[in-house]
């Protein structure tokens, strides 16, 4: 996603240095490739080549050691027929949309509340805190907190709830995973959106207030358009990170190094299980699943970028 800070020559992509160009401009031009090359080299080596290799691998059967055997599109056909893989795509989409939408609604609401609040810097730090905690901690802590004889149920019993919900039942497992994700992502995105909102001059709000705008109108007509660029970047960031969700599910669902229930698998987990999880070591299927998720995230990101495209508004 990173774009080079130094453009080749402001609007001119090709052409030799012109006689009228300043010394600084010329040196900038000379700098372009040397500065870009190391990053480009790393990018090609660590992203592009592995992706191409995964694409190649996805057309083969491979146990990770012996020779590759050509399998054509059969790995993809196998995935299309596999109810567990379909389920893992549904789960990934649930994370993307359900968790994403709830997280952003919370982030906006918090932004609105925090904008005029006293001690908001402190509150912001508190909100950001869950992002810093390793998913492992949630997994272990939730097991303790929500266990049948755990503190939450004891508290509920104290206030008279005799038949508490089965928090850790398998049906609720994925919901619990989603709630933890919302909890940890909200602070992160609130922090980013807040920093954009902080840049909006107060007089826009004052002017809107004078025109009789309430909190919702202020949000809709001032905050949203002026923070739009940042919000759309956040949406893309979320899309990419949601497709990669892995360790939280592994820790939540898997006890003693066993695979978590298949009903909670995301595509990332499916990729891992196909290669290393079971006894089958199907690196070809794993690569095919990875390529499918890559296609998924690419399509969604492009779609989202198009959907969120707006004229940039200068503050």
């Amino acid at each position: 996603m990173a774009t080079p800070v130094i453009s080749p020559a402001r609007g001119r992509s090709t052409g030799r240095p012109r006689a009228g160009m300043s010394a600084i401009e010329r040196s900038r031009r000379r700098l372009y490739w040397p500065m870009l090359l190391p990053a480009l080299l790393l990018m090609v080596l660590f992203y592009i080549v592995p992706i191409l290799y995964a694409g190649w691998l996805s057309l083969h059967t491979w146990d990770g050691i012996n020779e590759l055997k050509w399998r054509g599109a059969d790995n993809y056909i196998q995935l299309a027929k596999d109810p567990i893989f379909i389920g893992s795509i549904v789960n990934t989409l649930k994370i993307l949309f359900v968790v994403g939408i709830v997280t952003f609604v919370f982030a906006f609401a918090l932004t609105m509340i925090l904008r005029d609040m006293m001690g908001r810097k402190f509150v912001r730090s508190v909100l950001f805190f869950p992002t810093l905690i390793n998913a492992m901690v949630f997994g272990i802590f939730a097991g303790f907190l929500f266990s049948p004889a755990g503190p939450i149920n004891k508290l509920l019993a104290f206030v008279g709830v005799q038949d508490p919900p089965k928090w850790l039942a398998q049906d609720n497992l994925f919901n619990l995973i989603m709630i933890v994700m919302i909890w940890s992502a909200t602070g992160y995105f609130t922090t980013i959106i807040m920093s954009a909102v902080d840049q909006i001059p107060a007089y826009y709000y004052e002017a809107a207030g004078l025109d009789g705008a309430g909190p919702w109108a202020k949000f809709r007509h001032v905050t949203l358009p002026l923070a739009w660029d940042v919000i759309s970047v956040c949406a893309v960031l979320w899309t990419m990170s949601s497709v990669k969700v892995f360790e939280l599910i592994l820790v939540f669902g898997g006890s003693t190094a066993q695979a978590p229930p298949a009903s909670t698998w995301s595509t990332a987990l499916y990729v891992y299980q196909a290669a290393f999880g079971g006894g089958s070591r199907e690196f070809g299927v794993s690569a095919a699943a990875a390529i499918v998720s890559l296609a998924l995230v690419t399509v969604l990101t492009i779609g989202l970028r198009r959907m969120l495209r707006r004229e940039a508004i200068e503050i």
């Binding site: 010394a23 010329r26 040196s27 000379r30 700098l31 490739w33 040397p34 090359l37 190391p38 080299l41 790393l42 080596l45 146990d63 990770g64 050691i65 012996n66 059969d74 056909i77 196998q78 995935l79 027929k81 596999d82 109810p83 567990i84 893989f85 939730a142 097991g143 929500f146 266990s147 049948p148 004889a149 089965k166 928090w167 850790l168 039942a169 398998q170 609720n172 497992l173 669902g253 006890s255 003693t256 190094a257 066993q258 695979a259 229930p261 298949a262 009903s263 299980q273 290393f276 999880g277 079971g278 006894g279 089958s280 070591r281 199907e282």
Partner: protein, 436 residues
Amino acid sequence: MTHPNAWLKIATGAILATSVAFAASGCTTTSASPDDGAKSLTYWSMWTETEPQAAVLKTSLESFEKDTGIKVDVQWQGRKVLEKVTTGLLSGDVPDLVDQAYDKIGPALAATNQAADLSSVLSTKIPGEEEHTVADVIPSKYFDILPSYGGEVKNYMVPYSVSNVSVFYNKANAVAPKAPTTWDELLANCQKAVDAKMGCIAADGDATWANSYWFDYLINRNMGDGAFQKLMEDKTGAAWDDAAVLKSAQQIQELVTKGYIIKGYDASKYPEQQNAWAANKALYFLMGSWAPAETAKYAAEGFDYGAFNFPSTATNASTANDTLLFGFTVPKKAAHQDEAKQFIAYFSNKDRMSGISTDANNLAARPDVDAPKQLADVAAILADNETRLPTDGVSSDVIDKGFNPTFDKLFLGKVSAEEYVKEAKAATIAYWNAKG
């Protein structure tokens, strides 16, 4: 600074530095063949250095070095050791000796024909016990049950430690001190436990791997050895139509509907109920022989660890005991196979292997090594019965994808036995259909 050559130099420098970094990171290999002519052995262990098993092995590795002059380079890799070995196989960085459980070694090295044949080790005389060969002291049944995983080598592993799955109970309990031998006796004891306002069977809803032992054992008792494998590997799903399958499912359903499984099991995370069992909140716990060691901290006062073999459901039923083997393997590409094999025989010595029992509190693969006190019962079960592998040793892929999702529904009481059999059959067919 704006001189073109200066930038060219910087750019060249950057590229060089990057490529040097790659060369350094990508191509490091630990040399497995020292040039000084001295013999050596590289061992990658499944244990981490602080575990008691590591201490036991370390003692023997040190004395092996002293006795034979073979220099041992040991790396305590931990449980993911085989993932490192398989990566190493691609880059040529292969250890000479590796250990893990059979169901990890099998798929990684036996299925891929990357394990050396260890048959010659079996006929090797044990150093310090020259009257015995390895085959004399380690029961042949351990080698017989090893699945080949489709590979060419049968003896790809020599076990040094054994775990088995039995029903654990507190011998000092007042509700049902006598261990049941039949399924009906077990149910009767369960009723006693429920009447005494305690759970009968401890289980954690999320530990499907452990809960499925119940069904796996029932299928074995009702249908005989190898029946579970047939159930999983019959691509048409027809094996599920057998009336004994439905009976097994009904037996599970009875445990659920009669409330014999501890309250809250369907909403708990392993090892919550395991610890509850140790605190005398349930009578029975079907688990691997690591259970006493894992629950020792939580055990009620006076808790006396006992175990019985999974009860039989009919007079001529199989009494086979689920056994899990941990042992050594030698990669086929290893440079010092002879030295590795030499150490396997060396460690098979009774005195050396007994550390597995005395220090690590596990069962040693040699039956003549006394079991730790808490495992006296399970050692007897292991010695007195046929040995089988849990789930008949089928691949964990079919278990994770084809079996577990539907079994959970049965064990958690969401479907009836009839519905379960129908769904499980469909899931098996779907699994194999996807496999193509």
